[in-house]
């Protein structure tokens, strides 16, 4: 079953075609990789999916909803959570409070119930806390929960972003270079974590430059170059695709 369907997506920045007529589907429960050389438009596709940018043309369907014109927080509440390529944590807040941010869109209490501390508000806070602790345990940061998030190591900051995204109870999690800046050991653990997310029933869409990681865990790979989709398929198909090899290694002009 298709969870996310991207159809003829196009985005221009001035004269630059950042994303040019890209279409692909993400199936429910799969781990899908979006790869391509620097400047291929991968992050732009992510920003279009999450509503940070508005597409010039094309449509995005998620779980039966057309995402056109929806604001980011609305898309999050429909079930798409993301992490950022450049880590964007709430630096001055604790690790725990960062994860509670993800719970926000699943909570209902307003100003009055909070001021008067009504029983349903207390119950909701407690449930959010339980959820946040569960996600911190899932990514392995529970013992750091009282630290300010800015004091975490780089790899742990990436994990915290994942925990925050998971706390919003998404159907699809969109990871923008999750292994960026991680050492080999941390990357190994990340692979395990992504597979655990799949076991939980989540669908994962990720951008990654670590080809080793992509080829190991992605069941479907989409390749972009200069904003256009040049290939998609499983790892074997991608590694043997002539256009992908050219995009990554360049063409030796003497041979032509």
């Amino acid at each position: 079953m298709t969870l996310l369907s991207i159809q003829n997506l196009t985005k221009k920045f001035g004269g630059l075609m950042a994303v040019n007529d890209v279409s692909f589907d993400v199936d429910q429960g799969k781990i899908v990789g979006l790869i391509g050389p620097n400047g291929a438009g991968k992050t732009t596709v992510f920003n279009l999916i999450t509503g940070n940018y508005v597409p010039d043309q094309g449509e995005i369907f998620f779980n039966g909803h057309n995402l056109e014109g929806l604001k980011t927080h609305k898309i999050v509440s429909l079930g798409i959570a993301r992490t950022f390529q450049t880590i964007r944590l709430f630096k001055n807040l604790s690790v725990l409070e960062n994860v509670l941010a993800g719970c926000h869109c699943r909570m209902r209490s307003g100003i009055f119930s909070s001021m008067l501390r009504l029983s349903f508000q207390r119950k909701e806070e407690k449930m959010a806390l339980a959820r946040a602790l569960k996600e911190l345990e899932f990514v392995g940061l529970k013992e750091h929960m009282d630290l300010k998030s800015m004091n975490l190591s780089y790899g742990n900051q990436r994990l915290l972003e994942i925990a925050r995204a998971l706390a919003s109870n998404p159907k699809l999690i969109v990871l923008d270079e999750p292994a960026g800046g991680m050492n080999d050991f941390e990357t190994q653990q990340l692979v395990g974590l992504i597979q655990k997310m799949q076991d939980r029933g989540l669908t994962v869409l990720l951008i990654e430059h670590d080809m080793n990681l992509v080829m190991r865990i992605c069941e479907h790979i989409v390749v972009l170059e200069h904003g256009a989709l040049i290939a998609q398929g499983n790892a074997e198909q991608i590694t043997s695709d002539q256009r992908v090899i050219e995009a990554y290694l360049g063409i030796d002009e003497d041979e032509e």
């Binding site: 940070n52 944590l89 926000h104 806070e125 806390l129 339980a130």
Partner: protein, 320 residues
Amino acid sequence: MLKYKNPLMVLVFSAAIFSCPFFLNAYWIDVINNIGLYAILALSLNFIVGYTGLFHMGHAAFFAVGAYTAAVLNTSYSIPILLLLPVSGAAAALFAYLVARPIIHLRGDYLLIVTIAIVEVVRIALVNNVFGLTGGSNGIFGISRPEFFGLTIRRPHEFFYYIWSFLAISVFLFYMLERSRFVRALNYIKNDEVAAEGSGVDVAYYKLIAFVLGAFWAGMVGNIYASKMTLISPESFNFWESVILFVIVILGGSGSIRGVILGAFLIVGLPEIFRQFAGARMLVFGAAMVAMMVFRPQGFLPPLPRKYATHKIKPGDETL
């Protein structure tokens, strides 16, 4: 012992404040009353500047709308001023909603400039007697005193209990809010707007609500102020008042209730104590601000980390 340090401090402070009427004369009680009014105003501004990190230097405009709403309705229709307390708040909140909605997406210094314009436009509109209601630069006089069950509040000692009880209730409610998803959402916005929206927080809505809630409280303080002075004029709501409120929040500790109250004591109380050096007041004020920004930019009493009852969560508890 250490565990109860904070509640103990609150108790000691409350006891000290509420014993003031027993040994201070009317002049000093009036100073304490002014500190209380500024403290509540600054606490209401704290929602916008402190928790959400929006540069808003036009808070006196909301204060003015509340005060004039109370003054006009009280003098023209002789509605008891105390009944107008929520009306003043609602009028200021509505005004804030209308002016903040179109500018809510502005960032940093751009927002700052527009909010300065708002407070000036309001003051000039009051001076020019728009709608023929505000009495021009003379303002409105003859505002009645608040009455509690036949007891008229008139003397500074009586106003003391009115103002400081109002402050105590406000602090209690704001403290509750601080421990809820509402103020957390404001803090997320202050830290990183894009990440807040990306985590599912409706950034535009929460910014607007911060303005509306802050204005509601400022409007209610406007009502208390009008009944305390019985005479209000546009000069009480100028840009300088907004600056003072802004400074109280930043200097005391933005996003911190105890910090803001301390800020009100320092900014409003200290000049009274050092009245004989009034000539050097602005010099000292300026030097103190520079020193603060260099040595303690987070303010005197920055917010404490919030505590969560994580030990009460058992594995297998219901989750969201």
